[in-house]
């Protein structure tokens, strides 16, 4: 591999942000579809939203916000060279991620148990807007869930690097970027939550 005389800290951060923009636009496509179909089927969307469990949604929001807090604190911890605490905080983030996924799993299986999933007979026979709402819901939260998994794995890998001493107060860009990615996942959820669970 090519060796670099010096690490370009700001460059790495810029690169990460650019990548986050692409993620933003990826979800942006789903939000575009949401806004168009919401305009077309306000009633059906409200009805669909009422079928989602807003309590679970709220709990998940709290969990994700907390995970984000842990991630942000982990960055502070590393910068203050409190490496043990940083690892513990990342552990907290990953724990939250796991909790989030469990709740998501419960929600999804409840819906699927009721015959509500993309392409299901139930949705085919229901009003058109309902099928659109739930397809959007499953695809958006599905892709979001995938990002949670990727983000969790990324942070776990970084925690190992902190333990190994490769990431520390002098060289923490990896963690900063990992945390940025995690906050993005949170950011997307901040919009998914009211749009799907609350607007009814």
């Amino acid at each position: 591999m090519t060796t670099h005389p010096h690490k370009d800290y700001a460059g790495a951060k810029l690169g990460m942000w650019l990548f986050l923009f692409t993620e933003l636009l990826l979800f942006g496509g789903m939000f575009l579809l949401y806004s168009v179909y919401f305009k077309r089927y306000p009633q059906e969307f409200a009805a669909g939203g009422r079928q989602l469990d807003w309590i679970m949604g709220t709990v998940n929001t709290v969990i994700l916000l907390t995970s984000s807090l842990c991630a942000a604190m982990a960055v502070t911890a590393v910068q203050r060279d409190e490496l043990r605490r940083a690892v513990a905080l990342i552990g907290g983030t990953i724990l939250c991620a796991a909790g989030f996924m469990v709740i998501k799993y419960v929600e999804w299986s409840a819906k699927i148990g009721h015959g509500i999933y993309p392409g299901s007979e139930h949705l085919k026979s229901g009003p058109p807007g309902e099928s659109v709402f739930f397809s959007l819901y499953f695809i958006t939260t599905g892709i979001h869930g995938l990002h949670v998994l990727i983000g969790g794995a990324l942070l776990a890998w970084i925690a190992l690097k902190i333990k190994g001493g490769e990431v520390n107060a002098g060289n923490d860009i990896l963690l900063e970027n990992g945390a940025l990615y995690w906050h993005l996942v949170d950011l997307i959820w901040i919009f998914i939550f009211p749009l799907y669970y609350l607007i009814l």
């Binding site: 916000l65 942000a72 502070t76 910068q79 009211p194 609350l198």
Partner: protein
Amino acid sequence: MNEHHHIISYKKLTAIWLALLALTALTVAITRVELGGYKVLGALVIACAKAGLVIAVFMHMKYEGRLLRWLLFLALLTLAIFIGLTFFDVLYR
């Protein structure tokens, strides 16, 4: 190399987190009462406020240079334009 950093205190992060929780509670609250179309608007405004807090503090945007801020603005503007122009079709069809 550390001079790049502005280290954000745990206290400040916790305060932001509390604010985010409060805003979450607020969204839930306003969408429970009957406000008609306003509740959509209200929920979105609050979501934007929350996003703003996360970006500014958790993501350290407040302490970054002007370049990154402009670029973020550019990305958001692009998304807004994509959605906005599509509505020239959707609204007038």
